[in-house]
């Protein structure tokens, strides 16, 4: 005796599994329903968006030591450009692209800095957005990850330890290199050494005579410049004086570079918390946030 039963026909799923979807960052194969790339942990949504919308997105990396302000900078930048008040306009693609902006601005509005970006790439925030430049008819598609400073340092010191960092830096059209102006101004040279390491790494990563890093645009952003106002007056002179190694590297090895100063908090104080002493912003007044990004996107657009 036979009995009628409803059986799901899953063969189309098997067919989908048979076709590998390449990750947009590392180009390694993944299953169609993977959320993150199993090789580099980049969101597979980037690949799906590229496939369905048939748009080629440029990549832009924000690099610098841990605690330099990459998350604050990117979050603030996203929020400012998406408020429709600036000449540049930004429109996020995908809900995941708003996480960074939300986390950063909510923390700043509470009078805190956002939590440190975890070292694990699967917990990083990625931004995929459209940027409309003035005098440009077509918007620029951009992908920007908020990478952890310690992961970047680990990759620089031990190449191939963070696959996603390497792949990202290989592919991206330009870099925002963040340097802590307050620490430089206070006489600490660790920022100088770290920046030089990063620049050397970039040059070694791709030194193709045409496409290599020596020809890609590099925006050097002195963060926390509210604490040293002279930096705003002339960032290049500040670099020459307080970060001579970095300045010389840029002069010798990078044809398209420019120095900028940026700050988000007008003043800071320390706060004793159960986790130790933390810096807190006393007020939020972004300054010099848009300029390096605008310059970099213009440079990428020209190429």
């Amino acid at each position: 005796m036979t009995k009628d039963t409803a059986v799901t026909l899953d063969s189309y799923r098997l067919a989908q599994y048979a076709v590998q979807v390449p990750c947009y960052i590392c180009e390694q194969g993944n299953t169609f329903d993977a959320e993150l790339c199993r090789h580099c942990f980049a969101p597979m949504a980037l690949a799906h968006q590229a496939n369905t919308q048939k748009v080629f997105s440029s990549m832009l990396a924000t690099i610098g030591p841990s605690g330099v302000g990459k998350t604050v900078y990117l979050g603030m930048l996203m929020d400012m450009l998406s408020r429709n008040k600036e000449r540049l306009q930004l429109l996020a693609r995908g809900a995941f692209s708003i996480n960074l902006q939300q986390a950063a601005t909510q923390a700043l509005a509470r009078g805190e800095f956002p939590d440190k970006t975890p070292n694990e790439p699967d917990r990083w925030n990625w931004v995929h957005c459209q940027v409309q430049l003035p005098r440009h008819r077509k918007p620029v598609e951009l992908i920007m990850p908020d990478m952890a400073g310690e992961a970047i340092l680990e990759e620089v010191d031990h190449p191939h330890s963070f696959h996603v960092v390497r792949q990202m830096l290989l592919k991206c059209g330009g870099v925002l290199l963040m340097v802590d102006a307050a620490r430089l101004h206070a006489g600490s040279l660790d920022q100088d050494y770290f920046s030089m390491k990063l620049l050397s790494y970039l040059i070694e990563l791709d030194n193709h005579p045409k496409r290599g890093w020596q020809n890609r645009p590099l925006a050097l952003v002195f963060t926390k410049a509210d604490d040293c106002e002279a930096c705003f007056d002339d960032p290049a002179s500040f670099a020459k004086r307080y970060s001579p190694g970095l300045w010389r590297h840029c002069q010798e090895r990078f044809r398209h570079h420019q120095f900028f100063a940026a700050g988000v908090s007008g003043a800071c104080a320390s706060c004793n918390t159960p986790d130790g002493r933390q810096r807190v912003p006393l007020r939020i007044e972004p300054r010099g946030i848009i300029e390096p990004f605008e310059w970099l996107v213009e440079q990428i657009g020209r190429r």
Binding site: A109, E229, A269, R283
Partner: protein
């Protein structure tokens, strides 16, 4: 012996400064030469440490030369001229001190009162609930009027607050009058650092000026790039002071006491909802300072303009842990309070009457200015304006309209 000689020379220096300032026919105004006295005293005392005899002789000669010299062109030689000059400089409150008015004519007093009414607004005495800023990150949590129980209630005396922040042209008067060289105007502890308070070209003045002059076309913009000490020195020179933190907050939040336990306070001078078109903040203005006459919609009930936006304003008080109501806050350096937000203030919750931030008192930021206050108790009774009497203001406005 050495001390006696010092005192004698200080007296000569002070007398010389006072006499040269006011002319020989107005000894009652000698108190206005206090700046000169103290300047001479401090200058001499500092130099005495190095070369007492030579310096003393040089100073004596200098004082004698000043006393003997005729007044320079443009310098007032009589009481009337000095009063006119002080009115032009915006130092009218000095003329309304009880010690001074007895020696002025009724017309001179009247002019000083008119200037006072035109340029300052009365903030009545009363209670204020402070310490509400800690709850502001979530506007819904702080919706509507705040009950007095959530903060600390303080009593504020009646005072007059400048209707507008101090402008570049007003500060120019201070610079031109040699304010940076008068030691009596400055806190003694900062006097050695005053030489560093220079503009882009090294001349004494706010940080973003050049050649001791304010930027062209920005006469009515609020002065910025001044430290707390420069603001205090200006206020002293003008016969005023910086408002205290509760005073500033009271002028903006304009509390109403409905009962012993209920204080109605505004979040913004115009009400409880942020209306960005009423203030020069990030996104609502040109991202730089604007004239103090703009954004008239942001005026407070008492007639004070631009309390919110355009520039942060120094207040007299220290920015301590109590001011910010944040447990565990540790300040690396002593800070002074700044209030009101500026043209680049990003979040609405940081541009309220209750929000207070801090700044290093020697910092000379691009978005920090100030306005002055004066206690009515320090002025003659006739100068204490009736908040309901607007006749003097209307007279002033009518005079402006016909170009007087």
């Amino acid at each position: 012996m050495k001390k006696q000689r010092l005192l004698r020379l200080v007296g000569v220096a002070g007398l010389g400064a006072a006499v040269s300032g006011i002319g020989l026919d107005a000894p009652w105004l000698a108190c206005l030469g206090t700046a000169g006295v103290a300047c001479g005293a401090l200058t001499f005392r500092r130099r005495t440490d190095r070369k007492p005899s030579a310096e003393a002789a040089a100073l004596s000669a200098k004082v004698a030369a000043v006393v003997a010299a005729p007044p320079s062109p443009g310098e007032p030689v009589d009481t009337g001229g000095l009063v006119r000059q002080m009115l032009a400089q915006g130092r009218y409150t000095l003329l309304l001190r009880p010690q001074i008015t007895a020696n002025l004519t009724q017309a001179q007093i009247q002019k000083a009162i008119e200037a006072l009414v035109e340029q300052t607004a009365l903030v009545p005495a009363g209670q204020l609930c402070i310490g509400l800023a800690g709850k502001e990150s979530d506007p819904l949590e702080n919706e509507g009027y705040e009950p007095a129980s959530s903060g600390v209630v303080v009593e504020v005396e009646e005072f007059l607050l400048d209707r507008y922040p101090v402008t570049n042209s007003q500060f120019q008067q201070f610079v031109d009058a040699g304010g940076y060289a008068q030691a009596a105007l400055w806190d003694p502890q900062v006097w050695p650092a005053v030489v560093d308070f220079v503009d882009r070209t090294g001349c004494p003045g706010p940080r973003f000026w050049s050649g001791g002059r304010h930027p062209h076309g920005e006469e009515r913009h609020p002065v910025v790039g001044v430290s707390w000490y420069e603001a205090t020195a200006y206020a002293r020179w003008a016969g005023k002071r910086l408002p205290t933190d509760p005073e500033w907050e009271k002028a903006g939040s304009w509390p109403l006491q409905l009962s012993d336990t209920t204080l109605l306070q505004r979040r913004y001078p115009w009400g409880d909802l942020m209306e960005r078109e009423r203030a020069n903040l990030w996104g609502s203005g040109p991202n730089r300072t604007v004239s103090v006459d703009e954004y008239e919609g942001g005026v407070s009930p008492g007639g004070v303009h631009q309390l919110i936006g355009n520039v942060w304003e120094w207040t007299y008080d220290d920015f301590s842990q109590a001011a910010h109501k944040r447990p565990g806050l540790a300040l690396g350096t002593a800070m002074k309070c700044v209030r009101g937000g500026a043209f680049d203030t990003y979040f609405d919750v940081q541009a309220t009457c209750q929000f207070v931030s801090g700044e290093n008192p020697v910092a000379r930021k691009h978005n920090v200015g100030f306005r002055c206050a004066v206690s009515t108790a320090d002025l003659v009774a006739a100068a204490r304006p009736d908040p309901l009497d607007t006749s003097l203001v209307e007279a002033g406005q009518a005079a402006e309209e016909i170009g007087v």
